[in-house]
Amino acid sequence: MNDKAVQTAERAALVECADDFDAINKLYRERRWSDGLPIVPPTVERVERMLRHARRPREGLVARIAPAFGAATVERIAINAVLAGCDPEYMPALIAAVEAVADPEFNLQGIQATTNPVAVWVIVNGPLAQELEVNATFNCIGEGTWANATLGRALRLILRNIGGALPGEMDRATQGQPGKYTFCCAENEVESPWEPLHVERGMSRDQSTVTVVGAEGTMNMNTHAKDAVDLLRVIAETMVHPASNEYCHGGEPWLMIAPEHADILKRAGLSKADVKARLWELTKMPASHMAAKDLLRVKSSRTEELGEIGPDTMLTIAHKPDDICIMVAGGPGTHSVYVPCFGNSRAITRVIAAAG
């Protein structure tokens, strides 16, 4: 939603509580307004400080958040940013992430209410990633970096506090996953041999963006392969798994390629598009690998795309090679990450509003 058509919603209510960290956290715990971790008390002063960096009016409606379709106003986003411990400078990135998850192509209703463990992975690109010190190198999806930890956490709090996705209520996740606390990193653009993710997705290099991904989890791929053919083969064999939403629906699998692995692929003369095309071929899986019941789901979901589906049909992991998504992240080491995705969702990229 752009500023020319600002919609507004009701202001957040002011709740009075004893000026005491334990008392405030007790209140948040009782009302299920937290993710299970202690929160930073959202005092009027802290929220106002956050709002000064929003670059949008406080009443402005950024999005309606499924499944409760609560109003994510700038003010409510700011409150959740405070709860999560965000620096005020993160606000424009967080607002862009909220816009992105609300895009119908992302299928937030499905992502929020499903039994699947899907979490929202936030990828930051462009100059702002460095400015905000979003980690793209060592342990970038692990702990230890303030921006990664709090930006991802703030989005999760928005999804539950505004979107109403409380575990066991409207969030029906069977187990969930640790990424539902926070899942955010930047792309390692400096060490990537390819164009950055946001440039590949149509933005200019000097723009800053967030990309949101419906991520089922992370699968580490530790391989010392030095040959591109060998490397792609083992990556593909990791991606092939029959109990998969991606094969069921035609998904959007993601790869977080380590700089060392990216370098091997680039030195073999492979562009990102080449890598995608090869992986799309290498990950074809006989339909007979799926459970009989799951094969019925595949037939229901993909017959129009693939024609008659029998046990010998070679199922593709995605509708087309370009639906395999690649970003480069991490520090030194021979570990890349396969991020299987929700299937019925497409990643969305949004530009972060520039300063001034």
């Binding site: 499944p67 409760a68 379709f69 209410a113 039994t115 209520e169 409207m170 029906r172």
Partner: protein, 70 residues
């Protein structure tokens, strides 16, 4: 549909009834009739599923009739 005056209901399994009720309330129609099917049904035989569907169809008719009678 219900807000437009048409008879409407939703069908969901017992595992999703909390979601159904909460979302109906969130969307401003807390009284939305919901026909409920025992969860899980993916592991049941075809005959068992057919029996559940018959029972559910009866429930759907009942809920819709109640809605129109008001």
């Amino acid at each position: 549909m219900a807000k437009r005056g048409r008879a409407a209901l939703t069908i969901c399994s017992t595992a999703f009834i909390t979601l159904g009720r909460a979302q109906a309330s969130a969307l401003g129609y807390a009284k939305l009739p919901i026909a409920v099917i025992q969860h899980p049904f993916g592991i049941r035989t075809r005959d068992e599923v057919r029996a559940m569907a018959d029972k559910c169809a009866t429930e759907v008719v009942r809920l819709l009739s109640e809605g129109t009678a008001k």
